[in-house]
Assembly symmetry: C2
Homo-oligomer: 188 residues x 2
Amino acid sequence: MARKKEYIEEEVIEKAMELFWRNGYESTSVRMLEKEMGINQFSIYASFGNKKGVFIKSLACYKAKAKLELINKLQNSTDGINAIKQYFYDFINFSKESRLNKGCLITNTVNELGEKADQEIMSEIVNFATNVKTLFIEKLEFDNLKTTEIINKQANYLMVSLQGLSVASKMFNQGELDDFIENTFKNI
Amino acid sequence: MARKKEYIEEEVIEKAMELFWRNGYESTSVRMLEKEMGINQFSIYASFGNKKGVFIKSLACYKAKAKLELINKLQNSTDGINAIKQYFYDFINFSKESRLNKGCLITNTVNELGEKADQEIMSEIVNFATNVKTLFIEKLEFDNLKTTEIINKQANYLMVSLQGLSVASKMFNQGELDDFIENTFKNI
DNA sequence: ATTTTAACTAAGCAGACGCTTAGTTATCGA
DNA sequence: TCGATAACTAAGCGTCTGCTTAGTTAAAAT
């Protein structure tokens, strides 16, 4: 009936996601996306509607990548709280970019857009955060001495800690990050 | 000999700083600065050279404000590690913006610009961070049982934790932040 | 083989970006 | 009082922003 697309949406979105991850939302222009994705602006707008559309799909792509390379390992582990600690270490490698790191795309976005973030974007962020927190709670429940109240408090603690790790990995060295992780899990 | 300035540089920089604090560096345009500072673009460029110049002065203004409203209290306290804990709580109020928070301008900048930050900006950031860490170390030394190695590790831990608090305060509620702070100081 | 339809190319839209400059106004020393 | 000088106003520079559109090309259905 008509011509075929010369690109695969999932493939070009992954390249867009990498760009957003390195540069942030506002600093990534449609011209930059055009070059990195290897397709014309017309194709970008035909496939994803607008710049925000590309970003929403990029967030989904980030989630999928994080799940595959990072979260599944945590989910499948039976090592309780040590699994969470390992997740912290794994995250550093996951977000590695040359010497320093590019942080977590979700944390980066919260930090850049804050409360003035678009509603659609914000709900993707909250959804991702909720998933991670749920997993933390699951692993913390391996210790049956803890009340659900303690577990929830500790999960909140770990969520904030993880965001600290995301930002700090952009300017602190491995030793300082190690100090952080070791201290974080000292009394949990 | 010539005409007098109709504005005080320190006063208009404070308004610029508030704008950068809320919006970040890239998202704050010179037109926005013009309106918020209440002076013409010509005056901005005459006084501060360029947009980066305004930002550098804004960072200095932020430091001064933080020192006055936040850091001096920590510095003068003899309460050891409890003084640091109080500093964490004070920081939340310091960065309060309506219901949610605008974080720490320094942390926001690291997170936005990362390693591609201008050298002059980066050295301001590192300088600020070093000052805070030094204060943390001073307070941790109140406990004379600790070795300098332990103290340094704990200072690194607190520095990363503080960055976590900065980002998290943009999306988490007070209760969740309290959980974080209380748990953080359980580990010290 | 021809028609239909969607994916492509490339040019261009209006507005915002950081920054500059020509021309005017106010304050100073002489 | 007047010339010198710096601070002002406002218009505009070239470039980039997100997005659109007119015109062309390729693949499927008839």
